[in-house]
């Protein structure tokens, strides 16, 4: 059983002189498909004959116009790029940037060291270092000024003793 032709078949039939024999047989026997094929073929022929007399433009001017538009586009893009780079090169922008760098880099370095110390303390991998006097004072240690006196030489101890005595005398005179 062979049904009616499909839209694709009609197009193949219209455009090709060599259609399958079964299509030809069907067209001969089917009034509906034959009518469609004939009218569409006529429309197809008409389209091919329409539009042959298309007026053409001045091709040199045509190309020139496209070239000018492209050139204008590239100029616009360059100007836009220059605007951005020009902004960066402005003196005020440069001074602001320098100030930011001058403040930012030391602050960053300080914070980085602080963070690093905190990390090493919390992890406890670093070997303990002998504490400086200032650190010990800050930490509330028992070591006092007299402990430092013990470390003075005999001559220094004598000088200090004399200074203390003369100071005591001076204060008693005042009293």
């Amino acid at each position: 059983m062979f049904g009616h032709l499909k839209s694709e078949d009609f197009v193949n039939l219209i455009e090709s002189s060599e259609a399958p024999a079964k299509w030809r047989r069907h067209i001969d026997s089917c009034h509906r498909c034959r009518a469609t094929w004939e009218t569409l073929s006529a429309v197809h022929v008409e389209i091919t004959s329409v539009g042959e007399d298309i007026p053409e433009p001045d091709w040199a001017a045509f190309r020139s116009s496209v070239r000018d538009k492209l050139f204008a586009r590239s100029v616009q893009r360059e100007a836009s790029m220059r605007r951005w780079t020009g902004w960066l090169m402005r003196p005020s922008a440069v001074s602001t940037l320098s100030l930011m760098l001058a403040v930012g880099i030391p602050t960053g370095a300080f914070l980085w060291h602080l963070q690093k110390d905190h990390n090493t303390l919390s992890i406890g991998l670093e070997t303990p270092k002998p504490a400086s006097p200032a650190e010990l004072l800050e930490a509330g240690t028992d070591k006092t000024v007299f402990d430092d006196l013990m470390e003075l030489s005999e001559r220094e101890q004598e000088q200090l003793h004399r200074l203390l005595q003369s100071a005591q005398k001076g204060s008693s005179h005042l009293q």
């Binding site: 197009v11 329409v50 298309i54 496209v66 070239r67 492209l70």
Partner: protein
């Protein structure tokens, strides 16, 4: 297999992208006429067709670095032209006719209705009433004589769909020839 034309186009594109200004003219001369003619068939006047075709080339050259060598430059340009023309026609709110797909009553001879020049001019106007995409496919096939494979690449549809579009476009034209004053509907 890459054709000689395709190869020549690819070389011209490379030259243009490398900064060779003469490649611009060579590409234009190779393709300007066919793109202009396609645009003309959409708008039916020289000035609008010229503007449309120039827009197509401007777009193409501005984005030439995006051109992938999978298809030919001709196919790529047709693709841009087709989209641009379809959008243009849609934007300018032309009215397109919707016709019945019943073909059983088609008995009148179309040829006899289109004998003189005046009627052919009328036929040209009827072509403008086709939905833009259908019209584009019909133009690419019949007037530009592109293969169905090429049209399928340009429009991103299957060959069967393209053939069906040609069929329905012819059907609508036949209906318009029979009833030129048929109520126009927006596509």
């Amino acid at each position: 297999m890459v054709s000689a034309n395709q190869d020549a186009d690819a070389q011209l594109v490379d030259r243009y992208l490398a900064g060779d200004a003469t490649a611009f003219d060579e590409i234009m001369i190779r393709h300007q006429r066919r793109i202009y003619r396609l645009c003309y068939r959409f708008v039916n006047n020289r000035e609008d067709a010229k503007d449309l075709a120039q827009d197509v080339f401007y777009k193409a050259f501005a984005h030439l670095e995006n051109f992938r060598r999978e298809s030919s430059l001709k196919t790529w340009l047709y693709q841009i032209a087709m989209n641009h023309c379809v959008n243009h026609v849609k934007k300018h709110s032309q009215h397109f006719v919707e016709v019945s797909e019943n073909t059983a009553s088609a008995t009148a001879s179309v040829q006899s209705q289109l004998e003189d020049r005046e009627e052919r001019e009328q036929f040209r106007h009827l072509l403008q009433r086709l939905p833009p995409k259908q019209k584009a496919i019909l133009e690419l096939r019949i007037n530009e004589q592109l293969s169905y494979e090429e049209i399928a690449k340009i429009s991103g549809r299957s060959i069967s769909t393209i053939k069906a579009s040609v069929f329905f476009a012819l059907e609508k034209l036949r209906e318009l020839v029979k009833h030129p004053s048929k109520r126009a509907e927006k596509a």
